[in-house]
């Protein structure tokens, strides 16, 4: 998927994550802030990369501000941010974008 605008999904509430995505030129650039970074930072990064890969996003700058979100929440926020960034506003693949 090709990102055409900057988009954001999620909140800064406890157990949520706020994900911002924008277009980039050279692959995936990712920055993560998290209150559980020491114990889950690696897994958060994996989850975000996996989700982008599944959506077919090859170039993006992604910022995750995580407040202790579970993996399912992270995936949902990344998907939503990407769809918004791609200008998708209908026919969402509810239940997760399955390749």
């Amino acid at each position: 998927m090709k990102l055409i605008q900057t988009a954001l999904a999620g909140t800064l509430e406890s157990s949520d994550a706020q994900v911002t995505v924008e277009n980039a030129e050279n692959g995936i650039e990712i920055s993560i802030e998290s209150n559980v970074i020491n114990q889950y930072g690696r897994q958060i990064k994996e989850t975000v990369l996996e989700t982008l890969d599944r959506l077919g996003v090859e170039n993006a700058r992604v910022k995750v501000v995580d407040k202790g979100a579970l993996d399912c929440t992270l995936r949902a926020r990344v998907e939503c941010a990407v769809f918004r960034a791609c200008g998708v506003d209908k026919d969402y693949p509810w239940g997760g974008a399955i390749r």
């Binding site: 406890s14 157990s15 993560i32 209150n35 559980v36 970074i37 020491n38 114990q39 889950y40 930072g41 690696r42 897994q43 990064k45 407040k67 202790g68 979100a69 579970l70 993996d71």
Partner: protein, 517 residues
């Protein structure tokens, strides 16, 4: 070498008589000689010990580089005393100071700066939060901080493991000779339990008050015979943060469910009979347990013989309803408990030695039937952590946790299975503050685990039909929800030593490593 809770204690720390933790009760029956302070006699008649300023008191006490000064934390997050004294110590150019406090918190953030500057080089405390905790965790303190339980602190002072040169004791009221009380002033904290051992064992004792009252200020918590000087200041603290409004009883259904489980666990044990004794922490579910206890008492026509601890409104309510005979009080958390210790003749102030010391001839905790306590983490060996956060940074307080857990016949830890993404029940706690052998039952929102060391309790709780699980099952459930956590990474350097009650090394806290992804 590895100690009794399977923690690696560096050999270089096991010097000068320091031993690894050998197990709870290992030093029971051992004898020691108590230390005594240097006393400057006042034989002649004189009118007053009042000095014009804190600075004057520091000078009169002869404070020098390298000295240890002590404080109490009855003013909690409303305390002004530590900062006022430290400001003057620094202004006088005194260096290499060790602070021996019963606890420090965010109210004392300015001290973190003195740690960074190398002015404060040692810290001994039963609680550490805010910027001080971050500074110590980042390796800024010159010597490892020493963390002790409330009872362990008393023992260490009495045995001379920490020698207090000057004790600065904030007091809501004092007379001109230093008879000091926790009530009767404008910033009442109720009791001065933590400061009693300091008053008896420091070479110099300075009482700092904002309400000077007529002599004699009786009955005193701190006796004038132990006090060298009195200083009157405008304010010793923020009254709103010293005695807060009573915490609202939690309405969170998760808290209430866990509280109900706690009450049911109590009712299922053989210790639930007329005249039992009880302590509860000040956390949401622990407090809420009182609410479920009351109908059980009424139904059986039981009364609680005594409640101990940090006292809160629910305990005071039970006393006023005649459901508790006696409260013995080592700290007050709200206005209701402060007023009660002042007015109710069945509500008594006790010293922290009486409360929890493992080094005297028998403290109250040794006769406790039940204690309900919180935890940041509990591991599959039932070890509890209440001092380091999930990132490894110091931000908690052992307080009376290890003391009451060791003393009580039935120690109940209550904690949600997960907090946000953090699993509370885990494979291995970051820091052991209370050894698992002292923990009997762990109550979570996903079920109750009984320590296999207590087959008697397991049988009793099984018969009562409580939702029992093994601690392994609880851990697995937590990991299923949040994922298996990576181990927090640390540098090798030890920044704090967690002492067991008897002074042996229970665990060490190492310098935190910045996380790189």
């Amino acid at each position: 070498m590895k100690n009794a809770v399977n923690r690696e204690i560096p050999d270089e720390l096991l010097q000068n008589g320091r031993k690894p933790f050998m197990g709870s009760g290992y030093y029971d029956g051992a004898e020691h000689q108590k230390v005594a302070p240097v006393v400057r006699a006042r034989e002649k008649s004189f009118e007053s010990k009042v000095l014009p300023s804190i600075r004057e008191a520091i000078q009169q006490c002869g404070m020098k580089d390298g000295m240890t000064i002590s404080f109490h934390h009855h003013f909690r997050e409303g305390d002004y005393v530590i900062n006022m004294v430290m400001e003057e110590v620094v202004a006088l150019g005194i260096k290499d100071v060790t602070i021996a406090a019963s606890s420090v918190g965010a109210a004392h953030d300015p001290v973190a700066e003195y740690i960074e500057q190398g002015i404060v080089v040692g810290l001994q405390t039963s609680g550490i939060r805010g910027k001080i905790g971050e500074a110590v965790s980042n390796g800024k303190l010159k010597t490892p901080a020493i963390l002790r339980s409330h009872g362990g602190r008393v023992r260490a002072i009495e045995q001379g493991e920490v020698h207090i040169d000057i004790a600065f004791i904030g007091a809501p009221t004092s007379d001109c000779y230093g008879n000091a009380r926790g009530v009767g002033g404008k910033s009442d904290c109720g009791v001065l339990s933590y400061a009693m051992v300091d008053a008896q064992h420091a070479d110099k004792v300075v009482v700092i008050t904002d309400t000077l009252v007529d002599f004699p200020n009786f009955p005193p918590s701190i006796q004038a015979v132990n006090v060298d000087y009195v200083v009157v200041v405008d304010a010793i603290g923020d009254p709103k943060k010293i005695a807060t409004k009573a915490a609202r009883m939690s309405q969170d259904p998760r808290d209430l469910m866990m509280a109900e489980y706690c009450a049911k666990v109590i009712a299922a044990t053989p210790y639930f009979k007329d005249g039992f004794s009880f302590q509860t922490g000040a956390g949401g579910p622990s407090l809420a347990a009182n609410r479920f206890l009351e109908p059980m008492l009424l139904e059986k026509n039981y009364k609680i013989k005594w409640i101990i601890g940090g006292i809160t409104k629910p305990a005071v309510d039970l006393l006023n309803k005649g459901l508790v005979e006696t409260i013995v009080d080592a700290q007050d958390f709200d206005i209701d408990s402060v007023r009660s210790v002042q007015d109710n003749p069945r509500h008594f102030e006790i010293s922290t030695s009486q409360y929890a010391s493992p080094g005297n001839k028998g403290a109250f905790v040794n006769k406790l039937d039940f204690v309900i306590l919180a935890a940041l983490e509990v591991d599959t060996d039932f070890n509890v952590n209440v001092i380091t956060g999930s990132d490894g940074v110091l931000r908690g307080a052992p307080g009376g946790h290890p003391d009451t857990a060791a003393g009580a016949k039935c120690t109940i830890i209550v904690t949600p299975l997960v907090r946000g993404r953090m699993p509370t029940i885990c494979e291995r706690v970051v820091t052991v503050t209370t050894p698992g052998e002292c923990v009997d039952v762990v109550v979570t929102d996903y079920g109750i685990a009984v320590n296999p060391r207590r087959p008697d309790l397991l049988a009793a709780l099984t018969e009562a039909g409580l939702p029992l699980k093994t601690i392994e099952e609880l851990k697995n459930e937590a990991y299923q929800i949040v994922g298996v956590p990576d181990q927090v990474e640390f540098y090798d350097r030890v920044v704090a030593i967690m002492e067991a009650r008897d002074g042996s090394i229970l665990d060490v806290v190492r310098q935190t490593k910045p996380m790189k992804l």
